[in-house]
């Protein structure tokens, strides 16, 4: 693989900043988390005990309703696949987990605001029956993702129309904002890493790039239509990494498979080398999955921790400092949003390039 193009003067600073920021943000996460828990353990005054960890975890995890303000939230459809059949109802039936819902086949209870469990006649959770119920609900993350899919399709089909309308002319308006990014993905990500067969993978790379970027940005918006932590959820990054795993291995040529199954080492090393290579096949997308999840989640945790400080100290005086840090982190997260999309796309292109590389 040829990495030289990443080391010309302009880009090296970019990468350096990225490296510094990543380390910084991870360190920050650890610090803030400790501070938050420490503050919580001391106990806050007043009637309601403020638990930052609970609040933060609630914010970064998935939910069955889309919180708007106060006690108002958008109910989302619950879809359950049980051993008896499908169940459909709105999450508002749970009244924020305060009530059980009597469905067609079972009675359901919302535990910890996210887990749907079956309740037996005595009012206790029936673990055996709960295992048979599969939750395919349209959760906050799913709804947010659908929203982003709709917006992305509308946005880019309008850009495509602009290309048709202004055939052969210079780009204009939103088109001229998107085109450099598309060209960046093509000329700096796809072409140098994949080689002459890059065109086949452009739709995947562009979709991955814009999907991750757009969802990262949506996640930074604290209110509806944002607020969902889509790319900071391991299930989402798992799917993205899984798609990459499939694409890379489907397109792997004979050199790629030979490198894995018949590596250039003495035959008696095969029992070690082949498992190592097979682990490598999995570990590459696995790293993609963890990197995106950890970076986005870390950013959200830092911002929420900083906000939590105000409530932990129960002092308005801390607010300006807290907000200054939050502002800084938000700007940083804007950068990280684009950067993580770039890194994910770049590594995808790199893995594809390694799989389709021709050895002469």
């Amino acid at each position: 693989m040829d990495f030289r193009h990443f080391f010309d003067s302009k880009k090296i600073s970019f990468i350096a900043i990225f490296a510094v920021l990543t380390t910084f943000s991870v360190a920050q996460t650890a610090d803030s988390a400790t501070v938050a828990t420490a503050a919580a353990s001391h106990g806050a005054h007043g009637d309601e005990k403020f638990e930052p960890t609970k609040v933060i975890m609630e914010h970064i995890s998935d939910a069955h309703d889309w919180h708007l303000w106060g006690h108002t939230s958008i109910p989302l459809p619950i879809i359950l696949y049980t051993d008896n059949g499908l169940e459909f109802f709105l999450s508002s039936q749970f009244h924020h987990g305060e009530q059980d819902y009597v469905g067609k086949y079972y009675t359901y209870r919302l535990v910890d605001k996210k887990k749907i469990q079956v309740v037996n006649a005595a009012g206790a959770v029936d673990e055996a029956a709960s295992k048979k119920v599969w939750d395919f609900s349209i959760t906050k993350n799913v709804a947010s993702m659908f929203l982003s899919v709709i917006i992305l399709v509308l946005l880019f089909s309008s850009v495509a129309r602009a290309y048709k309308k202004r055939d052969g002319k210079a780009p204009k308006g939103f088109q001229s904002f998107i085109e450099p990014i598309i060209l960046f993905v093509r000329d700096d990500i796809a072409r140098p890493n994949i080689g002459h067969t890059y065109a086949r993978f452009m739709p995947l790379l562009l979709t991955i790039f814009f999907f991750i970027w757009f969802n990262n940005l949506l996640g930074l918006i604290p209110i509806f239509p944002g607020a969902a932590n889509v790319t900071g959820n391991i299930a989402v990054t798992f799917v993205l990494a899984f798609v990459v795993l499939i694409v890379v291995n489907i397109n792997g040529n004979k050199y790629y498979w030979k490198h894995i199954l018949l590596p250039d080492v003495p035959w008696w090393l095969y029992p070690i080398m082949i498992p190592v290579e097979l682990v490598g096949v999995i570990s590459k997308p696995f790293a993609l999955m963890i990197r995106l999840f950890a970076n986005i989640t870390a950013g959200h945790i830092i911002i929420l921790s900083l906000i939590s400080l105000i409530f932990v100290f129960q002092s308005l005086a801390i607010a300006p400092i807290s907000l200054a840090f939050v502002l800084f982190m938000n700007v940083l997260e804007l950068l990280v949003a684009a950067l993580q999309a770039f890194i994910f796309t770049l590594l995808t292109a790199l893995f594809i390039g390694m799989a389709v590389e021709e050895h002469h």
Partner: protein, 166 residues
């Protein structure tokens, strides 16, 4: 800490897979294909335009060069022609001079021989004139001398005197 790491929600996995693949298919059909084609088309047309501009420039340079070459050639040709003309003129003048000289010499020669002729003829004339005049004079003198009988007799006598019969 409830991170969902150990237990990723399969519902979310399922819907993410559907959403992402749907997005991939839709964007591929309605966005990436037309956009990449349009960009490629435009890049090709720009490249073509640049190439043809380069070609035109080359053509222009070639034409200019050719023109210069032609001009140079024409200039050289003109010089040659001028030189030739000058040579021809010099030749002509020289020839004419030689011709004139020989002609003049010939004419002079002719004139001289004519003059000589004339002179000879004139002299001959003069000689004949002189002789005839002398004869005339002699005749007239004689006539006058021998007008009287006496004289004739005297002469004869005289002559006879000289003639001594031996």
């Amino acid at each position: 800490m409830n991170f969902d790491i150990g237990n990723p929600s399969y519902g979310l996995v399922f819907w993410t897979l559907i959403a992402f693949l749907l997005l991939l298919v839709l964007l591929k059909k309605f966005a990436w294909k037309p956009i990449m084609e349009a960009i490629g088309e435009r890049e090709r047309s720009i490249e073509d335009a640049l190439a043809s501009a380069e070609k035109a420039k080359e053509e222009m340079a070639r034409l200019t060069n050719e023109n210069e070459q032609l001009l140079k050639q024409a200039r050289a040709e003109r010089d040659v022609i001028l030189k030739e003309a000058k040579e021809l003129k010099d030749q002509l003048v020289a020839d004419a001079k030689v011709l004139a000289q020989t002609e003049g010499a010939k004419l002079i020669e002719q004139a001289r021989s004519e003059i000589e002729d004339q002179k000879k003829r004139a002299l001959a004339e003069v000689k004949s004139q002189v002789s005839s005049l002398s004869l005339e004079i002699a005749r007239k003198v004689l006539q006058k001398e021998f007008e009287s009988e006496q004289k004739q007799e005297a002469l004869v006598a005289d002559l006879l005197k000289d003639v001594k019969l031996n």
